[in-house]
């Protein structure tokens, strides 16, 4: 198999959509693999007596990289956090998203909040502190699990003020 034939073979394989083709002719072996990510890889094993054809990884046009996996449907964070406001914990304590276990959370992703709105409760030294928002905007992400310990200044919510 000469170099022209190998090039044609690679083109054929890449168009065919198959992931892997292995051909064996006497002492000549060639395996053409198409990775999931898109780039073609050619593995050639050549019998030592024969002049080895050069491996040409760039011989085929790699298909355009598949679009990035879609973000998870829930609590999707935008790619850029630059314009978002972090609401931070004013104290060490335990973070609660609801006033009691059978109640709805004070805020959910997508909710609009205004200054003065209660957004969570932080329990410290058995005192329950209602934490009010100081900003207005839309809740983009809740950064802490309900009923978990939090540190001083730890970001709790991401809010889009626009």
């Amino acid at each position: 198999m000469d170099i022209k034939e190998i090039q044609n073979l690679i083109k054929f394989v890449s168009k065919s959509g198959v992931n892997e083709v292995a051909i064996e002719q006497g002492e000549f072996k060639i395996t053409i693999k198409s990775e999931v990510a898109g780039s073609e890889q050619v593995f050639v094993q050549q019998a030592p007596v024969m002049a080895a054809p050069q491996v040409m990884p760039a011989a085929v046009q790699a298909p355009v990289a598949a679009p990035e996996a879609a973000p998870a449907a829930t609590e999707a964070a935008p790619a850029e956090n630059a314009n978002l406001i972090e609401i931070k914990s004013p104290m060490i304590g335990t973070f609660y998203r609801r006033s009691s276990p059978d109640k709805d959370p004070f805020v959910n992703v997508g909710d609009s909040i205004s200054p003065g709105d209660c957004i969570c409760i932080v329990e410290a030294m058995k005192l329950f502190n209602e934490i009010e928002s100081e900003v207005s905007g839309k809740v983009v992400k809740v950064l802490v699990d309900d009923n978990s310990p939090i540190e001083y200044d730890q970001p709790l919510f991401l809010v889009d003020p626009s």
């Binding site: 060490i92 304590g93 410290a124 030294m125 058995k126 540190e151 001083y152």
Partner: protein
């Protein structure tokens, strides 16, 4: 809860002369991690600034000494006082108690003392080898006898609280502020200390070496001396050299 600088290693003693002395002995005789705390419900001979006695009713108050290895430069020793003062201030603030820090590190509520701090450092070369941060915080003590200028958490918020709940919170803030110190955030620490410093930029009456004078506290020096602007210029005072009588409008 994850701590940045301190390990939880709590030694609870039913009765002890002084938790700071016990901690000093512990450092000499064994290897303990930074954060090791000696806490007692009954301290017999607590020491305060200038060797003043610090008495506490059994089982009512939080009395402990925390061992901390900072390897900080000697010149920065005062920042340990700042970190400890801010930790107490913040803990009280979480309980909705408004306090002020009286230089160097007493915590007052409306002019009444609620907490005293005594830090013993041992040095090696130009570094602080170990620090023992002793804190006495009045928690559930109601009656202070002749001590008119004392108060407690109970007296301020009108309800008893669990002494060890207070300890947990305070330990968390000690970790927070000592971490700021270890990250060399001196400016932030000093700024926050100034925000709570009693009498800053206010005129007060002072006494040094038997001489009374008026002046304005302008801050503390890098090594923790109190800076007072007087008619003869700004002077720096050591704790032993200065007495302050704060006017009531300070509180």
């Amino acid at each position: 809860m994850l701590y940045k600088r301190l390990e939880r290693n709590l030694i609870h003693l039913a009765i002890v002369d002084s938790t700071n002395d016990y901690a000093a002995n512990l450092i000499k005789t064994s290897e303990v991690p930074s954060g090791t705390t000696i806490v007692t419900s009954n301290q017999q001979k607590g020491r305060g600034q200038r060797s003043a006695m610090w008495t506490t009713q059994a089982n009512k108050n939080l009395t402990f000494s925390l061992i901390f290895f900072s390897n900080e430069k000697i010149q920065k020793a005062f920042y340990l006082n700042i970190a400890a003062s801010l930790a107490v201030f913040k803990t009280l603030s979480d309980l909705k108690i408004e306090s002020k820090i009286k230089w160097p590190n007493d915590i007052l509520v409306q002019g009444k003392k609620i907490c005293g701090i005594l830090i013993d450092n041992s040095f090696s070369g130009d570094k602080i080898q170990s620090s023992i941060i002793g804190i006495g915080l009045n928690v559930n003590q109601k009656d202070f006898g002749d001590l008119k200028e004392a108060t407690s958490i109970l007296n301020e918020i009108g309800q008893e609280v669990e002494v060890m709940d207070i300890y947990e919170q305070l330990f968390g803030y000690l970790d927070f502020y000592l971490n700021l110190l270890m990250e060399s955030n001196y400016k932030i620490l000093l700024q926050r200390y100034y925000e709570q410093l009693l009498g800053l930029n206010q005129e007060g009456e002072f006494e040094s070496k038997g001489i009374k004078f008026r002046g304005i506290i302008t801050g503390v020096s890098e090594i923790g001396l109190l800076k007072i602007q007087t008619s003869e210029g700004t002077k720096e005072f050591d704790l032993k050299e200065i007495r302050m009588s704060y006017p009531s409008n300070f509180f």
